[in-house]
């Protein structure tokens, strides 16, 4: 069993892995580099950079650095977590499980909104951000799930048990093959389209696309990204703040013993400098925790 599992492979998670692994804790990182907000960006305001640095390149180098320090990497999204009082278990989108003595949560903050016409106006009138919450209100109705990642796949599959017709709108499905197959087998119809707006006055009536014909609907579920950091935190007994952030102390400890958090998930500023600072703190303290040492700040 690994000593530490790190959820998220952005700058916070990677820096935590570098420190934990160098402190000789058996460390596993779980996450996809492309899910980091740093992926595909240019970095200008981080220490030691001349001009612009390639965010994707920095992430790749950071991952290689963590692995050369001894950490392992699982290139998947985590879809659920459990805590049995002794160890923590994460289940990935391919059904793999990782069990560890300590957890470092570094999943970032998920973007929830599409920011398209009709979305804000029809929230609560057919627009939902939580299929698991609102599925019961759409029995026998026509709905669409929008999103490319594991959360959209799981929601599309879930909604087939309630709605009469389920469309899964995804321009480039990035969920695992297993999750895509499960959603399709359950009856979700995939639409390859770019959503341009949600229609309806007092209630959702449909969805329009910039590159496909409009469809008539009763509900739209916006499920972007992987499973949210709030959901994963609540799985293991941490109550997040209303904005989805997780409270930590100066050692990056959460309210649950053995669980640390770092990076954007702990709140603003959403900066690489803060993420790596907290990542180092979380990695050092988690390694000390699993070795039974007195925590080091």
């Amino acid at each position: 069993m690994p000593d530490i599992m790190i959820i998220g492979t952005g700058p916070a998670g990677l820096q935590a892995a570098i420190h934990a692994a160098r402190a000789k804790a058996a460390t596993v990182m779980i996450g996809k580099l492309r899910n980091s907000a740093m992926y595909g960006t240019k970095v200008e305001n981080y220490f030691g950079i001349k001009g612009e640095a390639d965010g994707t390149g920095m992430l790749s180098a950071g991952l290689a650095q963590a692995m050369s320090s001894g950490a392992e990497h699982t290139d998947e999204n985590v879809i659920s977590m459990e805590y049995d009082g002794g160890s923590f278990k994460a289940t990935t989108e391919n059904g793999n499980t990782v069990t560890a003595k300590a957890v470092i949560l570094a999943p970032g903050i998920s973007r929830m909104k599409l920011n398209i016409p009709g979305e804000k106006e029809l929230f609560g009138k057919g627009v939902s951000y939580c299929a698991a919450c609102d599925c019961n209100f759409y029995k026998g109705k026509r709905i669409a799930v929008i999103g490319d990642e594991s959360e959209a796949a799981a929601s599309a599959e879930l909604m087939t048990s309630y709605a009469s017709k389920v469309f899964w709108v995804t321009k480039d499905a990035k969920a695992s093959d297993m999750m895509i197959r499960k959603a399709k087998d359950a009856g979700a119809v995939m639409i390859d389209g770019k959503v341009s707006g949600i229609t309806g006055k007092d209630r959702v009536t449909g969805l329009t696309f910039s590159d496909a014909p409009a469809i008539e609907l009763d509900g739209v579920f916006i499920e972007l990204g992987a499973r949210s950091s709030s959901d994963l935190a609540m799985d293991i007994g941490i109550m997040p703040n209303t904005d989805g952030t997780i409270k930590v102390n100066e050692r990056c400890e959460t309210s649950v013993k053995g669980v640390y958090a770092c990076g954007d998930v702990t709140g603003r500023p959403w900066q690489i400098a803060k993420a790596v600072g907290q990542g180092a703190t979380a990695g050092i303290n988690a390694a000390a925790y699993v070795k039974g040492e007195k925590n080091v700040r």
């Binding site: 929230f123 609560g124 919450c133 609102d134 209100f137 759409y138 709030s230």
Partner: protein, 103 residues
């Protein structure tokens, strides 16, 4: 204390109280679980002014249908029997109190 309401006790609760906040929730809904302690704090802070109730929409679908609820958590607000809002989704205590005091 937050009063647990059912389809059958809902109207009486509104009739018997001048200003009412009702949290419509379901057990599997994570944002609802995050809102629950906030609703309890609102009740404590505004005990003298607002009667606070909660209604499980899974077990009381009649009220959910009557008010067209299709997203939870939804907070229904009534002042002297007249409905205001509703407030939909998870929100901080301060925003809920501000809205209640503005109706």
């Amino acid at each position: 204390m937050v009063t647990e309401l059912k389809d059958g006790t809902f109207d009486e609760f509104i009739d018997n109280n001048k200003l009412v906040l009702i949290d419509c929730w379901a057990p599997w809904c994570r944002p609802c679980r995050m809102l629950a302690p906030i609703i309890e704090e609102v009740e404590k802070d505004l005990k003298e002014k607002v009667a606070v109730g909660k209604l499980n929409t899974d077990e009381n679908q009649g009220i959910a249908m009557r008010f067209g609820i299709n997203a939870i958590p939804t907070m229904l607000i009534f002042k002297e029997g007249v409905m205001y809002g509703p407030l939909v989704g998870l929100m901080p205590k301060e925003e809920i109190i501000k809205y209640l005091m503005s109706v």
